[in-house]
Symmetry: C2
Subunit: 412 residues, 2 copies
């Protein structure tokens, strides 16, 4: 049997007829190479946003079920049009909605998780020699209702399908050429990374690199799916996200991630007693606020300062929660600084090289950039800096670790 390739195209790749035809050309070429091809697509261009805007004109609080009924039409439009465009090129194609493709999800509407994939119909159609176009972002839940998978849902569909179909590779087509050593808009000398491990990619995604959401990479890691992130508009190879990345010893730092829109919240003078952290972070989690770094100072006279960072979009929600709990905690003050950014370096083997952290801190110190918070993991060091210092810090660190030099090609 020939190999199976899953190709995923985002909304901007299918935003209009010309782009859909371009995608059809790429898919047809892949099929003509002899692969069995499964394509996953998102809703065209701004359609999802337009549908949300329509719903907002009608109600402030749509039920999740009806929202999913509405939003799932976007991907359905894409699969039908793309299937037509591929057939028009003389390559047989057939479209399947998520439910038709055998994608099952849980009942958590608008952010459901995939629970199972039973790709019977996909295999039937592949057997007939057809390219199978599957609607991303959607599945069937136990009530036989359509459920959508939330942000990054189409990537997730693609990676999960690749796992279920035992595909050779899951190709994620985007408007960038791959994963870079840092954001090229901040550091023009950023280099495309040829190969990167799931773990490093997870840290990069968590630290602000926008290429793929963590949940898709996690599924890829769990099932060992090779994920190839590449450009819709170029034939060049992109970045392969895979299990093991053999590389020259000297490469320790893979990339510099940058999240310019962070906020830091400090509760000062909190009583130093058990359960305090739970009282803060429990309610925040309940409200869906994603807390990133947390730092607690050494207690002085039975009192503590607790600082943590969140995405700036969540500031209003978080402050609302803290208003409720701070009295109970007897906090002296709650201060929000929404003018901070996060710069992180990521690389496997970092822990074994004590010089890495020192080099990072030194390069920032020499440039007079103050580090507000630090957190480390096995393969990441993250620093919170002033928002205004962020881009400069990225460029300095990128240079300090020699990332602007063309990468030594790793052997597969």
């Amino acid at each position: 049997m020939s190999s199976i390739v899953v190709m995923k195209f985002g909304g901007s790749s299918v935003a209009d007829a010309d782009r859909i035809k371009n995608v059809a050309g790429r898919v047809a070429a892949k099929r003509k190479q002899g692969h069995r091809v499964v394509v996953v697509v998102s809703a065209p261009g701004d359609m999802t946003d337009d549908l949300i805007a329509m719903a907002e004109k009608i109600t402030d609080s749509p039920s999740g079920r009806e929202m999913d009924m509405l939003l799932s039409t976007g991907e359905q439009v894409s699969i039908a049009l793309l299937s037509m465009a591929i057939n028009e090129r003389g390559v047989a194609a057939v479209s399947l909605t998520g439910p038709q493709a055998g994608i099952f999800a849980d009942q958590d509407h608008t952010r459901a998780r995939i629970t199972a994939i039973r790709p019977k119909k996909i295999f039937e159609q592949l057997k007939k020699g057809k390219v199978v176009i599957v609607a991303g972002f959607q599945g069937l839940n136990p009530n036989e209702d359509i459920a959508t998978l939330g942000r990054g849902g189409s990537d997730l569909t693609a990676v999960a399908l690749a796992a279920a179909l035992k595909a050779d590779v899951c190709e994620i087509y985007t408007d960038v050429k791959g994963v870079y050593t840092t954001d090229p808009r901040v550091e023009p000398e950023a280099q495309k990374i040829d190969r990167i491990s799931y773990d490093e990619m997870l840290e990069l995604a968590g630290a602000g690199a926008q290429v793929m959401q963590a949940r898709s990479i996690e599924v890829g890691k769990k099932y060992g799916v090779d994920i190839h992130v590449r450009s819709t508009f170029s034939e060049d190879e992109g970045t392969l996200i895979t299990a093991e990345v053999p590389r020259m010893e000297q490469i320790v730092v893979s990339g510099v991630a940058f999240d310019p829109k962070q906020a830091k919240i400090t509760l000062s003078g909190v009583a130093d007693r058990p359960g305090v952290a739970a009282k803060i972070f429990g309610p925040l989690a309940d409200e869906g606020v994603n807390v990133d770094m947390i730092i607690q100072s050494a207690p002085t006279e039975g009192r503590n300062d607790i600082s943590f960072t969140i995405g700036r979009v969540d500031v209003k929600k978080a402050m609302g929660v803290l208003d409720r709990v701070s009295t109970d905690l007897k906090a002296e003050e709650v201060v929000c600084d929404d003018k901070v950014a996060k710069v992180s370096i990521v690389g496997v083997g970092m822990k074994g090289h004590p010089g890495v952290a020192a080099k990072l801190f030194k390069s920032l110190a020499e440039a007079g950039i103050n580090i507000d918070m630090i957190s480390t993991s096995e393969i990441k060091i993250a620093c919170v800096v002033r928002e205004g210092d962020g881009p400069r810090a990225v460029r300095l660190v990128h240079k300090a670790f020699g990332l602007e030099k063309p990468r030594v090609k790793a052997k597969a």
Copy 2:
């Protein structure tokens, strides 16, 4: 158990948020009266046309299956938004796609017929007290693909659902107030008809009245569904299409139908032998050309003239067919006159009143309007006239039968 009412709203009734809210108000009011309510909706406004335009940019010959995958999204958008709007009013509602509602169709994509309705989910949701919103125009075919029902498909969904649910009435909401004695744009004194029989309505629909397509009325007749055609924008009663219409003896003519866009094709000097008609009308039917009136002259010297009328949209297709067959028929000439119109009077009991036809012909003759073709049925007399004479003929006939006078209210 309380009565079941099916309410159907067309695309213009759900074209934007304000109109959807208006519909939601009507549905909520009906529910609050204690009825169990099932709503059928079409795609919003121009969405179906927009989707077709998108497909046309991609291919001239889309597969029916993919076209149905595309077009069925329109109704799905409507049901989701309407369900949200009804819930927003505090009345519980739930949307179902055609397949979810248990509507099954055959494999004739883009013009499928309903083969069965298994309304298990609808009854489950009605039992929970919910208003059930069903996507019109679509069903599931034996391949488990979405199939659309073609023109008038949402009306058909509504009437067929009303039959399957044994609903008390199927309300068809439109932008007109009901069925009129003739087209009010042609004759401002046209009167709304309170009640009309299925058979009369079928003749009116066939004779050019645009309110409802014949296929829905046929299903209504077959299953005895009372169909109430009424305005989306007014509380007034509309027209009830039902089995028997008790009425005062003097009312014989119910209405004057007008189809301004007809064409008449004449094949002259055709050999008068068996099988000629089949050779003409078989190939026309194969091409989907709907032939209306057919007139064959008495043979002279073994040769005949055959004339028939079709909708003007089909002229090109029909002439193509006739080009192929006329040589074989040894026809002397094929002439197409695409400047004719059809004026018909419809009424139960017409046959028993010989004066009716005479009055019709006399009123036209006195005005100098020439009748080109005549055809009659049990409850209809149709006349083909010059296109330019059409509107005047409608007004004359309408007046001749006293239809401009307010109707004597029939007793139910």
